[in-house]
C-alpha cells in the first residue's frame, strides 16, 4: 500500500505532473526548435545584410527615401511644388495640407504609409498645366493626383484658366 501510495503521489507527479519531466522535455524540445529556426533565420539575415552592404544598396535606399521619405517633410514638398510651378509658368494661388490617417501595413516588417493631402489653387495657360501635371507625376517624390478641376474656359481670347488640384504625397511612418 505504501509503495502504491508513493508511486501515485511521488513518482507519477514527478514524471507527468506540472513541472514534471515530460513538461520539461517538451519545453526543451520547443526551445531547441526556436534555436534551430533562429540559426536559419540568422543565416538568411546575415547574407541579406552582407548583400545590402556589398552591393551599395544603402545608396539606393537613400534614393528611395527621396521618393518615400520617413516623415511628411512639408518644406521639401513645398519647395518641389514651387520649383515645378516656376519651371512650368504656373502660378500657385494657395496651398493646403492635410494629414490623412495612416494606412495599415500589410505585414509585420512593413511600416505603415502616411498620406499628405495637398489642395492647390493655380492659374496659368492650358499648355503649362499639361507640363505641370506631367512634372508632378514624374516628380522624385511620389505624388498621386486625385482630382483636377479646370474652370474659366469658353471665353473668347482668354488663355489663362483657373485650376484646383488635389494630390497625395506619401511617407513611410516609423
Amino acid at each position: 500500500m505504501t509503495t502504491l501510495y508513493l508511486y501515485i503521489n511521488l513518482l507519477l507527479p514527478s514524471y507527468n505532473g506540472a513541472n514534471g519531466v515530460q513538461e520539461l522535455r517538451g519545453e526543451r524540445e520547443s526551445k531547441k526548435a526556436i534555436v534551430e529556426n533562429e540559426a536559419k533565420a540568422e543565416a538568411v539575415i546575415g547574407s541579406l545584410i552582407e548583400t545590402y552592404k556589398s552591393k551599395g544598396l544603402s545608396k539606393i535606399s537613400d534614393t528611395f527615401s527621396l521618393i518615400l521619405p520617413a516623415k511628411p517633410d512639408i518644406p521639401t514638398l513645398l519647395n518641389q511644388l514651387d520649383g515645378i510651378s516656376r519651371i512650368d509658368n504656373m502660378t500657385i494661388d494657395s496651398t493646403a495640407f492635410n494629414f490623412l490617417a495612416l494606412k495599415a501595413s500589410k505585414g509585420t516588417l512593413i511600416k505603415p504609409i502616411g498620406t499628405v493631402q495637398m489642395t492647390l489653387a493655380l492659374h496659368g495657360k492650358y499648355q503649362d498645366l499639361r507640363a505641370f501635371v506631367n512634372d508632378l507625376e514624374t516628380n522624385i517624390r511620389l505624388i498621386d493626383i486625385n482630382s483636377l478641376k479646370i474652370d474659366g474656359g469658353g471665353v473668347p481670347n482668354k488663355d489663362i484658366f483657373n485650376y484646383n488640384l488635389e494630390a497625395y504625397a506619401y511617407y513611410q511612418s516609423d
Binding site: T3, L6, V21, I110, I113, N134
Partner: protein, 180 residues
Amino acid sequence: MPYSDPAGLLSKDKMPSGFSWHLFTFILIIFIIVIFGYLGLEFGYKPFLRSEIGALDAQIQVSSSGYEADAQKNLVDFYSRITNLKSLLQQHPRVSKIFAFLENATNVKVTYTAVDLSVAQKAITIDGFAESRAVLASQLLAYESYAGVSQVQLQNDAQFGNAVRFKVRITLDPQFLIAP
C-alpha cells in the same frame, strides 16, 4: 462469541511456507525502485533538463542580438520601402492622359467651360457648349468611341442663344489612368 475456524484455514501448518517472504521481497524491490526512480527524476534528470533549458535560453538571447541593430533597422527599412513603393506605384495614376483624351476626342465646334476629373471615381465631368444638338450628338459618339471610356452620360443640355449648353459625365475604364 469466539471466532471458530472449522476448516482449519488459519492453522500455521496449512499456509505455504515462504509465501509472505516472496511477496515482501517483491514489494520491497518495487518500493526501492519507486524511491530511487523518484530521487533520480527529482535530483538527477530534472536538474539536467533545467540546465539544458537554461543553456538554450541563453543561446536564444545571444542570437537575437547577434547583428548590429543599425544594420537590421536599415535592412527592414529598405525592405519596407520597396514593398510600399511597389504597391503605391501599381496604383500611380497618370492624369496627364486626360489631356490627350480631351484634345483628340473634342469636336472643333465644341468648347468647354469646366472640366472636373476625379481619379477616385474614374470619371470626368465636362461642362461646355456645342454649336448645335447635332454637334453635341456627334461629340457624345466621339467620347463613346474613345479607347478607355466605359460610359458616357449626358446629364443635361439646354439651348443657350445659338448654342447648346451641356453637361456630360464620362466614366473611364479602371485601368485608363493607371496603365503606363
